[in-house]
Symmetry: C2
Subunit: 144 residues, 2 copies
DNA sequence: GCAGTTCCTTAGTTAGGCTAACTATCGTGA
DNA sequence: TCACGATAGTTAGCCTAACTAAGGAACTGC
């Protein structure tokens, strides 16, 4: 079936099916240091940005602030992120990765998303190119 | 960045990022009759297959049997699926959609995945074609 | 006919999401 | 200047969704 003959509603179903199943699969594989996909994602975003407030990190991760409070609490428990008070605004907190957090991400650099990466290795260049373009589209959609 | 210059490990990261975020978004929108995405997915698979045992449905949905027990329990509570004993094997149960379940799916046919479908409508034919091909690849991967 | 296996369920845990409501701080306008 | 609304973060409580461990019931093979 081509794009011309597939209406958005049907594509939505197929796409949702694909992402929910793949999401389950990816979540099953807990790769690095017992961190979940969600925790790793937050940690990665934090390092990428350098330092963020919880609200900013919540916005980046597309979750509500209380959810980010929990995620950050888990990461802090493990000593992977650090909270420092904002220099001028007493309400705000600055989050940053610790050396331990950097180490975990460095390890991630080496291990990466093993299961998914292995599957991708088995694909053709064309398929990988398709997935790459699809990922860009989906990221754009998610931020709409 | 093209497929040639993007190694599988990096593509895996990008793809994982895209699907986890989109998954969060899709889960937020509870479309039909108070059913969750997970429940709808199971119900859809069940109708597609006609009738399945819980184990088979769990395999299709890529969850562990206890998880499927809970999902089926919720669907049964709402009268959307029916359990009948296996004719010869007393351990097994046969699951099938009820008329109510069919009705919900028919309604779904009409409403479909609203939020996602709307986003897809805004895309170009080329982008939709890309997503369609990507979904096929991802579905294949999830079952590997 | 017993031992092992399979199927399903129950029980309990954990992660991750939400909303509502609270505390503390900030900023501003009368 | 100070009272009050707005903002940042957390807490509390609830839900879904996944897991593992362990159990009972039924089947199967020797």
């Amino acid at each position: 079936m081509t794009a011309q003959s597939m209406p958005p509603a049907q594509l939505a179903l197929q796409l949702r099916d694909a992402i929910t199943r793949l999401n389950r699969r990816v979540r099953q594989a807990r790769p690095v240091g017992d961190l979940t996909v969600t925790q790793l994602s937050a940690l990665t975003s934090l390092r990428l940005a350098g330092a963020l407030t919880p609200r900013e990190l919540a916005d980046v991760e597309r979750v509500q602030p209380p959810t980010m409070t929990k995620i950050v609490a888990k990461l802090e428990e493990r000593g992977l992120v650090q909270r420092t008070p904002h220099p001028t605004d007493g309400r705000q907190v600055i989050l940053a990765t610790t050396e331990g957090g950097q180490a975990v991400l460095d390890q991630l650099e080496r291990v990466r998303d093993g299961w998914l990466a292995r599957r991708l290795t088995e694909l053709s260049d064309t398929d990988r190119e398709t997935l790459h373009r699809a990922a860009e589209i989906l990221q754009r959609i998610s931020h709409a």
